[in-house]
Amino acid sequence: MPRLDKVVQIPKPKDIFFFKSCVASNKYPGIEACAWESLKILGVNPVDSDEQTCCGGFVTFANVAAPTASMPAVARNLSLAEEKDLDTVVLCNGCWTFLNEFGHFMNHNAEVKASVNMMMNMMGREYKGTSHVFHIAEMFYRLKDDIAKNVRRPLTGIKIATHYGCHYLGGGKYSAIDDAQAPTYMEELIDILGGTVVPYTANRECCGTGFTQIINGKDLSLEHTQRKLDSVKEADPDFLVVQCPYCHSQLDRVQQQLNFRKDGEYETPVIHIAQLIGLGLGVPAGKLAFGAHISGRKRLDDVMKRIGA
């Protein structure tokens, strides 16, 4: 059950700074395009900037950058939103934790903030800490009434399973809008779009990317993902909805790798919550960019036919 006291704290903005994600831009462009279009349909104007970089979370948790290097990088990205006097919306759980937690840490630690600002001043910027960071999923939950009014393609009879990912609910257990162990807001959104929620056992399990484990400890990573996918396969949903592009990439691509290793037949389409909302709100099929998806393409096309897209 979502914490309603947290939800009401999210303002309904007119404009919002649109923070792009590296995986969503370069691997699954549909996420970026759909999030942009859906926000527009819901009456929020996303504002882009070419000066934003990737959040840098990956290089930090790969231990290539210490917090001393990533703190100014976070401050730089947030200062872009502050310049425009806007709040920030992010597409990825990793970006959310990274910008939110590091920003929070700087706001409450004058010493760190001063040393970061020393570096910011050298490039003519300043970090003030006025931009709040919201995840696109919690933004959609805040705008659920507008979503209900704007449904163009009801997902009637489509079976949908959810995967929340770790870093939004686990890493930010005090700032997220839902409980870390039994979250339900994505199910509510699916209900609004007219879909059927399919429960499965390993819902709150990690996707298995483990930041760097997919590169350094591939066998561990695949073993874990296989457990998750087995449970998903048992429930047999039409979609597995995620809210993190990195989980998206792992769950989508590992299916193909496991099939290649002859470890089973996995063909479950994985889509991002922004794509699901975009699907319901009637975003044109080109912008959904399902062409970039690897697993379950046949099923995806089949579902698209069933809902008349």
Partner: protein, 237 residues
């Protein structure tokens, strides 16, 4: 190998705290309840990985055992341990700190070396960590050209990042010591450093940042990375 007295350290935790910039705290409060281990995805696939025991060893000062262990490099950074912890111990940041400390002792460099390219090739050159590059032939066959998909989705064929932005993140990297650290790992040779004299190189690594900003005094050093196998530069303060 036998464990020796010098493998233990009473002040390790206090010394390394500032390196994770205060993200790590309250390890002494650990109740040893084991909830973290119970829900840990890494422990599910590697039974010898045990966050509870790692915190115990850290608090007791049995440092060498943690730093030299292979288990330290198996964390998935999923934050599940933090989400269930009754004492709010943010264990992933402990792993983060311990890995920096382990590298300072000369462990785990091979692991980090593989990842250094993401920072060097993609993050610092293009501003985006994950590039459009695909290694898997089956994936390439199935999705075709990602630029075309991006254009169909109404986006520019490549995500634009301005030159000024790239210069700025490189500046952050240089000033915070990330660049010289990457050079030490020995990934790819850095272009600017090829031409510099040994003396310049030395200055580049050790140049101190001002310790006072306005009225606020800071003790966070920006050059707090370790050298492989060396302890000298790694200690904060």
């Amino acid at each position: 190998m036998l464990e020796q007295v010098k493998d233990w350290s009473d002040d390790f935790y206090e010394r390394w705290k500032p390196i994770a910039m205060g993200f790590v705290n309250d390890a002494e409060k650990c109740l040893q309840c084991g909830k973290c281990t119970g829900q840990c995805p890494a422990a599910a696939v590697t039974p010898s990985y045990n966050p509870r025991k790692m915190i115990r060893d850290l608090v007791n000062g049995n440092i060498k055992r943690i730093l030299s262990s292979a288990e330290l490099w198996q964390c998935f950074f999923c934050s599940g341990c933090y989400s269930v912890c009754p004492m709010d111990i943010n264990f992933p940041f402990f792993v983060f700190m311990l890995r920096l400390a382990a590298m300072n002792e000369g462990y785990g460099w091979e692991d980090v070396k593989q990842l250094e390219g993401y920072a060097e090739r993609d993050y610092l050159k293009k501003g985006i960590t994950v590039s459009t590059f695909e290694r898997n032939p089956e994936v390439i066959e199935r999705i075709g050209d990602i630029k075309k998909i991006r254009m169909e989705a109404g986006l520019p064929p490549e995500r634009k990042v301005t030159d000024r932005t790239i210069a700025e993140i490189n500046m952050i990297s240089d000033l915070s010591g990330m660049t010289s650290f990457m050079k030490q790992i020995g990934g790819v040779e850095l272009l600017d450093c090829q031409t510099c004299t040994p003396e310049q190189e030395k200055r580049c690594k050790t140049k101190p940042m001002p310790s006072k900003v306005g009225k606020i005094k800071t003790h966070y050093r920006f050059y707090n990375y370790g050298e492989p196998g060396g302890k000298k530069n790694a200690e904060a303060r």
